[in-house]
Assembly symmetry: C2
Homo-oligomer: 251 residues x 2
């Protein structure tokens, strides 16, 4: 399913489907729509790579246009500002993935399994797309995290579980911060220590730790933070992962 | 005690005490030692502010020298590279604070209280010095976090508590990630939502959350992640905070 979500992301950031919302384009003279879309996709691609590495503040517009092999001025045909391309990236990259998780969760009635499946997919996605993972870590601690994309869904999922009396969380705000912070810290650990060839793999071993079943172990921890007993948390975290159908994505 | 640790930080980054380790200076012609130290401190100060905002990768050496009002070339009289000034910052900013926490913990025998006091001081420090907080968030997810500074001490404190059978953590690696991730996420929340005048304060209220007793609530969550029951975790998290003596610092 990681391939699936990856493909979906590629589709979204290179909007070829007619159903995609029209990009806000400010230029007056019309050009070929396809070329326009391709340029926009190249700019978004370059911005994602650069901003995942350096953060929004650390990237200049001319770096983006150079990396995208696009003239500096044509940036403004597609985006008003650096902030605007960043906001579009956040929407493309996380809202899209949050939608994938929502579809995954549709067939699952247990709020605990929804959380477990979501975090396992998220860690796997970061494993297969480290740029995405780095970008998520950066964005996850922003002010927007509570009201948009993955953070907003996480808050909703926690609240659903509390309402269903499946989760026992005395302090939901801190519970949310603990679950969200653990996910981000697990993604960072995946990229730094756990992934094959990670530069910190030796350090992990030195400390007597290992990265086996890492997404499942992360999920089991989250469920315990949400009040489940260890044995049940581990059982739910080890269930078979549902697969997203590619056909669903095109709907 | 926040003022105290702040003062200690200022002293360290502007090394005026004769006991400070001599900076590695590569220039051959001797200049006034005081002027040299002042220039170095200005460079470190500027680099901290810029790198907290944009990350190490996002900052160019000439930005640092301009912000420090120092000639570009003289950067290299003090630091070999951007990586070198960053490493020095990490040492100054976090090793120093970790030492403060270690002194605080000296009089505390309960591993749970050590963790609670440490995280409360850390959140308060970020409240009083947001640049420091932002820098900690950036550095906290780096590969070095497991082996240096605050991350290393946190791992040690968790292991001490497990060895003393005070903490019950089935999976110490994930337990460390959860505790560390929660601390970083709490610092981000402090800066984004909880601090007076934080831009996300309205959002927090809208969601029905509040930031009262935030350091204590964060500490109570960490202790529960480490296996303590809620009532005991809350009691320990609410104990009186020890104060660091300024006199100790000069030793």
């Amino acid at each position: 399913m990681t391939t699936t979500t990856k493909r979906a992301a590629a589709r979204r950031s290179a909007p070829a489907a007619p159903a995609s919302p029209a990009p806000v384009i400010e230029e007056k003279e019309p050009r070929g729509a396809r070329r326009k879309r391709e340029t926009r996709a190249r700019l978004l691609d370059a911005a994602l790579r650069l901003m995942a590495e350096k953060g929004m503040e650390g990237v200049a517009i001319n770096e983006i246009t150079e990396a995208a092999d696009v003239g500096f001025g044509s940036f403004y045909n597609h985006f008003e500002s650096k902030e605007a391309i960043y906001a579009t990236l956040v929407d493309n990259v996380f809202e899209e993935f949050a939608n994938v998780l929502d579809r995954l969760a549709e067939g699952i009635s247990d709020p605990a399994e929804v959380v477990a499946v979501s975090v396992r997919h998220t860690v796997l996605r970061a494993r297969h797309n480290p740029v995405w993972g780095r970008f998520l870590i950066r964005e996850g601690f922003s002010e927007r995290a509570l009201s948009r994309g993955l953070g907003q869904r996480l808050l909703r999922d926690i609240r659903n579980g509390i309402a269903a009396k499946r989760f026992v969380v005395a302090d939901p705000f801190i519970g949310y911060l603990a679950v969200g912070g653990t996910v981000l810290s697990a993604i960072a650990a995946e990229l730094n220590y756990v992934a094959p060839g990670a530069s910190g793999a030796g350090m992990l071993k030195e400390l007597g730790f290992n990265g086996e079943h890492f997404p499942e172990r992360t999920a089991a921890m989250l469920l315990q933070i949400l009040g489940l007993k260890r044995a049940e948390a581990e059982k739910i975290a080890a269930r078979r992962l549902p697969v997203v159908e590619v056909a669903d994505e095109a709907a």
